[in-house]
C-alpha cells in the first residue's frame, strides 16, 4: 500500500486550514456591497394569511426592501418539489401539496417563511422583521401522524385528502399472512422511532449574488450537493438557466443529510439579490435551524414476526406510518419506502415479508433523510423485535440471530435488495469477544451488589449504501440518476488535480481521494489536489450522502485514472521505444518491465503537453474524465453491543462499554473510517438516550428549538468506543468499498435500547430513554408525560 496509498492511516491534508481558523464557510464570505437578510416566519403552526403590511418595516434604519410571496410568485419563481415519485398501492401518484418558497395564502408550520427583509446589517434586518405586520387567521393544527390520519383532523393541503400522501406497500402480503397463521410463535411489538434534528454545527447559510451586466447568479450555499442544487433551481424553480447560475458549496460544517435539500432561503436570496440589486447573505441562527432544517425519522410501526418451531423466522409483517411534516422535502418520499422497507430483511433469511407504509402531512417541519435515512428505522424495528422474540422464546439473542443469518451470497431478499457479500457471523463473534459477552453475568452480579442494574444488548445491522444504480432508482421513481463523475487533470509538471462531483463536509475526501491517486501512480499525496463544490469547476455531480462517495465517487476516479494511465503508458512506450503492454507504473515512474528503462512521471506529463514527440495521431494533454454508475447498492453490515448500568434511584443510564464490529469492505484510510463510525455512534446514542424533537400537540409550537431544550450528546454523555473490522470486499465496484458514513447511526440505537430493557427487565420503553422514562418504567408506572 505504501506510506500514503490505499489502507494507510494518513492524517488529513485538509486539517491545517480548519485548525488555524482558515476554513472558509459560507458565512465567512464577504463580497462588495453585500447586505443581510432576515426571514419573517410564521409564529403559527397553521394559519391563513390575510394581509402583510411592510410599510413600517421599510422605513426602519438600514432597510433596503421587504419582499413577500406574491412578488416572488409574480416573478415566476416555482414551488419546491419532492423529486422521487411514489405510487400508492391503488396506483395513484403521491399527493404533493404546493410548497411556496415564501408562503402566499397559508402557513403550515411554525417557521414557514413569509417574507424576506434585506438591510445594511443583520441586526437591522432582524429589527425590521419585527415590524412587518402579518395578519393571520389561525387554523387548528396537528403534529402527530396518528392524529393527522383521524377523521376530522385539520386538513393541511387540499391536494391530500385526510392528510394521506401515499399508502404504499412492498412484498407479498398473502404469503406473509399465511406464514403468520402457520407460525409456532408470533412476536408482536409496536415501535416508535423518535423525531430528530440533524444539527450540523454550522447553521445553514447562503449568499445570493446577481450580476446584472451578465444576467448571471452566483449562490454560495451550505450544500452537500451543489450540482443538484443548481439543477433543481434551474429546472424546477425557474431561478435561472444552468449557464447563468453558479453554485458554490465551500467548506461546509457538517450535513448529515440536512444539507442535501434545496430550501426556500437559497431561492429567495438569489431572487432578492436581483430584485434589490445587492448581494444578499442569510445565515440561520440555531433556533431557525430547529425550525426549518429538515428533521429525521418520526415513524410509528406495528410489527409481527413469525417463527417456526425451530426458531426460524418464516414471516415479517410491518405496518408503518411516517410523518413527513408540512411539505414534501426533496427526497422525503424515498426515505420511508425504498430506503427503509427494502432493508427489512436485515441480516436474516426471511422467506416472506410485507410492509405497508402510509405517509402523512402534519403541521411540523418537513422530514427527510437524516444520517442513515430509513435504514436506522428498519434496523431499530428489526433488532428490537429480534431481541423481544429471543426473550419470549427463551433463547439467547446471539443464538436466535445465528439461527437466522443469511450465510450464502448473493442473496435475494423478498424486498428488492440483492445482497452481494457479507459475513455476519464474523462480526457477531468479534463483537461478543470484544465485549466479553460470556463474562457479563459476573459483571451484572457486581452491579447488583452495588444496587445498580446492569444490562447488555446487541444489534446486527445491514444497510444499503453506494447510492445508487441510476436505472434501478429511476424505475423506482427517482427523478435523478445517482452516478458520479470525476476528472483527473495531470499538469505539465506532473502534479494532479482531481475534480469530483462528491462533496466533502467532514468526510476527508481531500485525503482519501488523494490516497487513491498516490496508490495508483506512486506520487505523494502532497502533489494531488481534490477540487469539489463549485459548478464552474466541476461540470456535474450528484454529491455526498448515503455513504456513496467512496463506493461511487472514488469508482469514478478509478475509471478516469484508468484512462490517464492508458495514455501515459502509450506516451512512455513511444518515448522509450517499448511495447505499451510492457510499461508498468511504480513509485512515480513509468518503467519498461524487465529492463532498466525508466521515465519519471513528470517527464511523461511534460511530454504530453510539449507534444514534441507523441505517438502518431495522439492529441496533446493528459486529462481524462469519467462517469461511474454503480451496478448495485453496497451492503455494509455489522454487530454492535452496548453494556449499560442503570441507577434505579434516578433512572440514569451509564454506558459502560460500546463495541462496534463492522464490515465496510476495503478501507482506504482506517483513521478516517474510525472517525466516521465514532460520529455515527454518537448520533445513534443521542437518538437512543437524549434527543427528540417535541411539539406541543395543542398549538403545534416546537418545544425543542435550542440547545437548552434539545439534548445534544456532549463529551461526558459518551464513552470511548471499541472498534473492529471484519471486511469482505464488495464485489460490485473496482475498489471493493462498501461505505462507512452511516453505520454507526444505524446500528447503535437498538443495541442500547436492548441493553437498557435488559437491565430494567421491561420491554416497554421508547427512545429517547431519558432518566424519567427509565425510572417510570422501573416503577411499572405510566410515564408522567406532562411533567417531562
Amino acid at each position: 500500500m505504501g506510506m500514503e496509498g490505499i489502507g494507510a492511516r494518513v492524517a488529513r491534508k485538509e486539517d491545517k486550514r480548519f485548525l488555524t481558523g482558515k476554513g472558509r464557510y459560507t458565512d465567512d464570505m464577504v463580497v462588495p456591497g453585500m447586505k443581510f437578510a432576515y426571514f419573517v416566519r410564521s409564529p403559527h403552526a397553521h394559519a391563513r394569511i390575510t394581509g402583510i403590511d411592510a410599510e413600517a418595516a421599510k422605513a426602519m434604519p438600514g432597510v433596503i426592501d421587504v419582499l413577500d410571496g406574491r412578488q416572488l410568485q409574480a416573478d415566476g419563481i416555482g414551488n419546491l418539489i419532492c423529486g422521487w415519485m411514489i405510487h400508492s398501492k391503488d396506483g395513484s401518484p403521491m399527493k404533493m401539496g404546493a410548497w411556496r418558497p415564501l408562503a402566499v395564502d397559508t402557513v403550515r408550520y411554525v417557521g414557514d417563511a413569509v417574507a424576506i427583509v434585506v438591510a445594511d446589517s443583520a441586526a437591522e434586518a432582524r429589527d425590521a422583521a419585527e415590524a412587518v405586520i402579518v395578519d393571520y387567521d389561525e387554523l387548528p393544527a396537528v403534529t402527530t401522524s396518528i392524529a393527522a390520519l383521524q377523521d376530522g383532523a385539520p386538513q393541511i393541503h387540499p391536494e391530500a385528502p385526510g392528510n394521506l400522501i401515499f399508502d404504499w406497500q412492498i412484498g407479498d402480503g398473502a404469503a406473509t399472512d399465511a406464514a403468520i397463521a402457520a407460525a409456532a410463535h408470533v412476536t408482536e411489538i409496536e415501535i416508535h422511532n423518535n423525531r430528530l434534528s440533524p444539527n450540523p454545527m454550522e447553521p445553514r447559510a447562503t449568499l445570493g449574488i446577481y450580476d446584472s451586466a451578465e444576467d448571471h447568479f452566483t449562490c454560495y450555499t451550505t450544500s452537500q450537493n451543489p450540482h443538484v442544487a443548481r439543477l433543481v433551481m434551474s429546472a424546477f424553480y425557474n431561478v435561472a438557466p444552468e449557464n447563468k447560475l453558479r453554485v458554490i458549496a465551500p467548506d461546509v460544517g457538517g450535513g448529515f443529510g440536512s444539507k442535501i435539500y434545496i430550501y426556500p432561503e437559497e431561492i429567495v436570496c438569489l431572487w432578492a439579490s436581483k430584485k434589490t440589486g445587492v448581494p444578499v447573505k442569510w445565515t440561520s441562527d440555531r433556533t431557525e435551524a430547529f425550525l426549518t432544517d429538515a428533521h429525521g425519522r418520526d415513524h410509528v410501526s406495528k410489527v409481527k414476526m413469525a417463527f417456526d418451531k425451530d426458531h426460524r423466522i418464516i414471516g415479517l409483517k410491518v405496518d408503518t406510518i411516517a410523518n413527513l411534516g408540512a411539505y414534501m422535502s426533496l427526497f422525503s418520499s424515498a426515505v420511508p419506502t425504498y430506503l427503509y422497507a427494502t432493508l427489512l430483511s436485515g441480516q436474516y433469511a426471511i422467506p416472506a415479508i410485507h410492509a405497508n407504509v402510509r405517509t402523512v402531512y402534519t403541521n411540523t417541519v418537513p422530514v427527510d433523510a437524516y444520517r442513515g435515512a430509513g435504514r436506522p428505522e428498519a434496523t431499530y424495528l428489526l433488532e428490537r423485535t429480534m431481541e423481544t422474540a429471543a426473550r419470549e422464546l427463551g433463547i439467547s439473542p446471539a443464538e436466535l440471530r445465528r439461527k437466522n443469518f443469511i450465510r450464502s451470497f448473493p442473496y435475494q431478499t423478498p424486498v428488492i435488495m440483492n445482497y452481494d457479500a457479507g459475513d455476519y457471523e464474523a462480526s457477531l463473534s468479534a463483537a461478543m469477544q470484544a465485549a466479553d459477552w460470556d463474562g457479563f453475568p459476573a459483571r451484572r452480579a457486581q452491579s447488583e451488589a452495588r444496587g445498580k442494574k446492569r444490562g447488555i444488548g446487541m444489534s446486527c445491522y445491514i444497510e444499503a449504501c453506494g447510492i445508487a444504480p441510476s436505472q434501478a432508482v429511476g424505475s423506482l421513481g427517482a427523478g435523478v440518476g445517482l452516478w458520479e463523475s470525476a476528472e483527473v487533470r495531470v499538469n505539465a509538471v506532473g502534479t494532479i488535480e482531481v475534480l469530483t462531483g462528491s462533496h466533502s463536509h467532514g468526510q476527508g475526501h481531500e485525503t482519501t481521494f488523494a490516497q487513491l491517486v498516490a496508490d495508483r501512480l506512486g506520487v505523494p499525496i502532497s502533489s494531488v489536489n481534490i477540487v469539489h463544490g463549485d459548478t464552474d469547476k466541476v461540470q456535474m455531480g450528484m454529491g455526498t450522502y448515503g455513504s456513496r462517495s467512496g463506493a461511487v465517487g472514488m469508482s469514478a476516479i478509478v475509471k478516469a485514472l484508468d484512462k490517464v494511465e492508458m495514455k501515459a503508458k502509450k506516451i512512455a512506450a513511444h518515448l522509450m521505444e517499448a511495447d505499451e503492454s510492457d510499461i508498468v507504473i511504480e513509485n512515480g515512474e513509468l518503467k519498461v518491465a524487465g529492463t532498466d528503462k525508466v521515465l519519471p512521471w513528470f517527464q511523461v506529463a511534460l511530454a504530453a503537453y510539449t507534444a514534441h514527440n507523441l505517438p502518431a495521431g495522439m492529441e496533446p494533454g493528459l486529462k481524462e474524465s469519467a462517469f461511474y454508475d454503480p451496478s448495485n447498492f453496497t451492503f455494509p453490515a455489522g454487530c454492535y453491543i452496548a453494556e449499560v448500568e442503570v441507577d434505579p434511584e434516578t433512572g440514569k443510564t451509564e454506558i459502560i462499554q460500546f463495541v462496534a464490529a463492522d464490515d465496510f469492505g476495503n478501507i482506504i484510510n482506517p483513521l478516517i473510517v474510525e472517525g466516521q463510525v465514532h460520529g455515527g455512534l454518537a448520533q445513534g446514542i443521542g437518538q437512543a438516550l437524549l434527543e427528540e424533537v417535541r411539539y406541543d400537540e395543542a398549538t403545534g409550537q416546537i418545544l425543542t428549538a435550542s440547545y437548552m431544550d434539545y439534548a445534544m450528546p456532549r463529551a461526558d454523555d459518551l464513552p470511548s468506543f471499541t472498534l473492529s473490522h471484519q471486511n469482505t470486499p464488495c464485489p460490485g465496484n473496482p475498489l471493493g468499498i462498501k461505505g462507512c458514513g452511516e453505520a454507526g447511526a444505524i446500528g447503535s440505537p437498538p443495541a442500547l435500547m436492548n441493553a437498557i430493557t435488559d437491565a430494567i427487565g421491561t420491554n416497554d420503553l421508547t427512545m429517547p430513554a431519558t432518566p424519567l422514562k427509565v425510572w417510570s418504567a422501573l416503577q411499572g408506572a405510566a410515564m408522567p408525560m406532562a411533567a417531562e
Partner: protein, 163 residues
C-alpha cells in the same frame, strides 16, 4: 455606536460597532478573523471560544464594548510562525476534527484546559471540561485522544526537561 480597541493576536486593533454587538461578531465582521464561529444562540456550543486576558471565554456571551481594552487570542493566533501549536498538531494526528466548524472552539478550550491542569489530566476530566463544546461529527472519541496526547506532549516534555 461605540469604539472598541483590543489587542488581538498581538496586534492592537480598533473598530466602531453598535453597543449591542457581541465580541464574536466584532471579531468576525470588524476584524475579519472568521476562524471564530457561531454555532448556537444560547452559549451552549462553544464554537466561539477565544482567550481573553488569559482565560477562555465564549465570545458570544460578552459584548464587544465590555471586552474593549483587553487582550484577546483567537484560533488564528496560537500557531507560532506557521508551526502548529501542540494541541493543533494533536488534533491533526488523532483525527480530532471532521467538518472543522467546532474545531477552533475545541482547540481554544483544550489549550486553556491543559494550561489550567498543569499536566494532571485524565479522560474523565477532559470529557467533563469539554461539556461546553458541542461536536456533531467526531463523537468526541478522537478529540479526547487529541487533548490527552497534547497534554502529554506539552507537560511530558516539561517533566523530562525538569528531570
Amino acid at each position: 455606536m461605540a469604539k472598541v480597541t483590543l489587542t488581538v493576536n498581538g496586534r492592537t486593533m480598533s473598530g466602531e460597532c453598535d453597543d449591542r454587538t457581541l465580541l464574536v461578531h466584532f471579531i468576525r465582521e470588524k476584524l475579519g478573523l472568521t476562524g471564530t464561529h457561531v454555532g448556537c444562540d444560547t452559549t451552549q456550543c462553544g464554537a466561539c471560544v477565544v482567550h481573553m486576558d488569559g482565560r477562555s471565554v465564549k465570545s458570544c456571551s460578552i459584548l464587544a464594548v465590555q471586552a474593549s481594552g483587553s487582550t484577546v487570542t483567537t484560533i488564528e493566533g496560537i500557531a507560532a510562525q506557521g508551526e502548529l501549536h501542540p494541541v493543533q498538531a494533536a488534533f491533526n494526528q488523532h483525527h480530532g476534527l471532521q467538518c472543522g466548524f467546532c474545531t477552533p472552539g475545541m482547540v481554544m478550550t483544550a489549550v486553556d484546559m491543559i494550561a489550567r491542569h498543569g499536566g494532571a489530566l485524565d479522560e474523565a476530566t477532559v470529557r467533563h471540561e469539554l461539556e461546553g463544546n458541542i461536536c456533531r461529527c467526531t463523537g468526541y472519541h478522537n478529540i479526547v485522544r487529541a487533548v490527552l496526547a497534547a497534554n502529554e506532549e506539552m507537560h511530558g516534555a516539561a517533566r523530562q526537561a525538569a528531570e
